[in-house]
């Protein structure tokens, strides 16, 4: 690789400025860690931990950092299009920005946030002490980080991908896109996707095999159900993207002809397989959201969830239908009436189970004693806004009408109306809701509610105008437009909404600082909740449950509370725990470097790091690691301190 090619993006002032900012911030972190002598602590307690709760925290940390990166992309796009003929970004830079915005928000914000929440909540909800494969869980995390690193270094070293987050051929092919940008795209998805696939397998096994005694499938909390179904979809969808990204790499770096314009290649095959993964992916980020809302709405309505069985049935139906609708993403690509008809019908069918869930939530709230906490506000905001997203989705589902809306801002508005109230609101609801499990205190409610209101209002200001602009023919991904189109005023409104959204995210982040500084620590179960995760002391000890509870019914914890039973009563025994894993961390680093050098077709270092990766796997195969035991005396001491102090803040 020539040095000039690597650093070419730095010739742009905006990129250079950002680069300097990143260097300064990284140096500050390094200096800070060194000054406070925190490196060992960071390495032992976090980077190599196999504790599902800490891995969950790290996932969410990554997701929030990436949210700001993706959010800056979004702000730049809205700023560029706020007025006609704007010169803030040139077209090439705009292409990179909308590509990385989509990729980051789906794969490095929504996914790690979802996986973070499931790591934190699922083992606790089912009364387990960890996931089935704790070391693999840590490796999955580092592979997600590897993907995030690749996509974020791309804009400094060699240039970002620029063919849209979908990376359609022929635009992303070697003829039209000769740089390394789309190599980064392929490897970033490939490597993080591998981690996600392992997470899916891990959680299916955990949920199916590690539930507390008595917790049959139909007594599981709804969030756990949603994660079980999500994990099943992950396991069946991510292999498709693995194959597709391998094919993209082969076409771009080795001259194969899968998607080429000559020699029998077929560019439509790319779009087809992309959405065979891509549509289930939508459900991978939305089903956990449904799970969070089910927990939050039941808890804050002080009622059990209405229609538990139908909720489960709806999700099981969605798990299959999610794989039957993909071609609706490219109705206009030229397939026949029959094909479009089939996919149109399956698409409209999927609105049915989703509708069932909406009514179940409404009926859960009916006659409930609703408390308007921050998580509940997100849930309440979700229902009407998401319904707009759903209804416009049914409009788009009709193939003949879609020819009008396709690739306009109407579509962009639609999927933001689904993903922001659906996924983002749910993630923030879950994040506020489960925060005390990890930290032993709640986030500040005033700030939390303020952030919600700013977010909900700004969201509509930012995205509702796009429905109108789209119907007026504003095509997505245009970097600018002329004043004569009349798109100017509504685009400006949209930009103002985007600024508001930025404010709301800053408020969410500020709340972390504020609450760490001022919040008072509380005892367990601050929300007066229903499901088993709240039976542990908070902040949860590393072994979770001193005694694994026995479950006889749904919401066992709620009934135990009412009856004054202690779910963790019983004889304490030694607890077996897995050891931390240094090799998972280093294997993740090796795989990051392997894929980085592969992107640049530097085969010698790429091979070295591939061999290093295999060496870590061999090391793991030969390793005898039986974990360790926490002895009864130590557990009793920990439990006693909880009882005396009402918690363990700062203690291990």
């Amino acid at each position: 690789m020539s040095f000039d090619a690597i650093v070419a993006p730095l010739s742009e002032p905006m990129v250079f400025g950002t680069f300097i900012g990143i260097v300064v911030a990284s140096l500050a972190v390094v200096v800070g860690l060194t000054y406070f002598k925190k490196w060992g602590w960071l390495y032992r307690e976090w980077l190599t931990t196999v504790d599902h709760k800490r891995i969950g925290v790290m996932y969410i940390f990554v997701a929030i950092i990436m949210l700001f990166r993706g959010g800056v992309d979004a702000l730049l796009m809205r700023a560029q299009t706020a007025i006609p003929e704007n010169g803030l970004l040139n077209s090439a830079h705009y292409n990179e920005i909308f590509t990385t915005h989509g990729l980051l928000m789906i794969l490095f914000v929504a996914m790690p946030f979802v996986i973070g929440l499931m790591n934190i909540a699922v083992p606790l909800q089912i009364g387990a002490r960890d996931v089935a494969f704790p070391r693999l869980n840590l490796l999955s995390f580092w592979l997600t980080v590897a993907g995030a690193i690749l996509i974020n270094v791309s804009f400094i070293f060699g240039g970002s991908p620029n063919a849209g987050w979908t990376g359609y051929f022929p635009l992303s092919g070697p003829e039209y896109n000769p740089g390394v940008g789309n190599n980064y795209y392929a490897w970033s998805i490939q490597i993080s996707g591998f981690g996600t696939l392992m997470t899916g397998i891990n959680f299916i096994t955990t949920i199916m095999k590690m539930r507390a005694p008595g917790m049959t499938l139909m007594k599981m909390p709804m969030f756990t159900w949603s994660i079980l179904i999500t994990s099943l979809i992950i396991t069946c969808a991510f292999p498709v993207i693995a194959v597709l990204m391998a094919m993209m790499t082969l076409d771009r770096q080795f001259g194969t002809k899968f998607f080429a314009m000559s020699d029998g290649g077929m560019d439509m095959l790319y779009a087809n397989l992309f959405w065979v993964w891509g549509h289930p992916e939508v459900y991978i980020v939305i089903l956990p959201a449904f799970g969070v809302f089910s927990e939050v709405i039941a808890t804050f309505s002080r009622k059990n969830l209405f229609g538990y069985g139908s909720m489960v049935a709806a999700m099981v139906v969605i798990s299959t239908l999610a794989f039957l609708v993909w071609a609706h993403h490219f109705y206009t690509m030229g397939h026949g009436v029959l094909t479009n008809g089939v996919f149109s019908i399956t698409t409209m069918l999927i609105a049915v189970p989703t509708g069932v869930k909406i009514f179940n939530w409404l009926l859960t709230m009916r006659h409930g004693k609703i408390s308007f906490t921050t998580p509940m506000l997100y849930a309440l905001g979700f229902i009407p806004i998401f319904t707009i997203g759903g209804v416009t989705g049914v409009m788009l589902a009709m193939a003949s009408a879609d020819y009008q809306y396709h690739n306009t801002l109407f579509l962009v508005a639609h999927f933001h109306y689904v993903l922001i109230p659906g996924t983002v609101f749910a993630l923030f609801a879950g994040y506020h809701y489960w925060w005390p499990l990890i930290w032993g205190f709640r986030l500040n409610e005033k700030l939390g509610k303020a952030a919600f209101w700013v977010m909900a209002i700004s969201f509509n200001v930012a995205f509702f105008p796009m429905f109108i602009l789209g119907l007026d023919g504003y095509a997505r991904r245009m970097y600018t437009y002329s004043a004569a189109t009349g798109y100017g005023p509504l685009s400006m409104v949209s930009f103002i909404g985007a600024l508001g959204l930025a404010v709301s995210f800053i408020l969410v982040a500020y709340n972390i600082y504020y609450s760490f500084r001022y919040a008072k620590r509380e005892g367990s179960d601050p929300w007066d909740a229903r499901s088993l995760e709240w039976a542990v002391h908070t902040p949860a000890p590393n072994y979770n449950f001193a005694v694994i509870p026995t479950v006889t019914r749904l919401d066992e914890f709620w009934f135990a509370k009412k009856e004054g039973r202690d779910l963790q009563a019983g004889k304490i025994e030694d607890i077996h725990m897995p050891n931390n894993s240094q090799s998972a961390f280093w294997q993740g680093m090796a795989m990051t470097l392997w894929s980085f050098f592969f992107v640049w077709a530097e085969w010698i270092p790429a091979t070295i790091f591939l061999v290093a990766t295999l060496a870590f796997m061999a090391y793991r195969s030969f390793q005898k690691d039986d974990g360790y035991h926490i002895h009864v005396a130590e557990i009793e001491e920990t439990e006693r301190r909880y009882d005396e102090n009402g918690g363990l803040r700062g203690a291990k």
Binding site: I204, M208, A327, T339
Partner: protein
């Protein structure tokens, strides 16, 4: 020595050889595409079942229902992907 060669495995092995030869009939005889594909589909599925049941012991633990569901669900998704893609790009284009 005989205890090292359980009947189940020997029968499975001979069965898989016979099925391979049966599948070869589509090359040896002049069969139509449809008949040929049916023969191949049947022999391949039986072969897969032989491996799963006689060699991999898919049903030997209490988890057999889960494992069957996971395997068949994945297989179903695979079939849907193949058929749906051909519908979108070859047959229905």
């Amino acid at each position: 020595m005989a205890e090292l060669f359980p009947k189940e495995h020997v029968v499975g092995f001979i069965g898989s050889l016979v099925l391979t030869i049966a599948a070869l009939s589509v090359v040896w005889f002049d069969v139509s595409m449809v008949i040929g594909m049916i023969i191949l589909l049947v022999t391949a599925l039986i072969q897969a079942a032989v491996q799963l049941m006689l060699f991999m012991h898919i049903g030997e633990t209490d988890d057999k229902v889960d494992i069957w569901i996971a395997t068949l669900f994945a297989f179903g998704i695979g079939i849907v992907t193949i058929v749906g893609s051909l519908l979108a790009m070859v047959w229905g284009y």
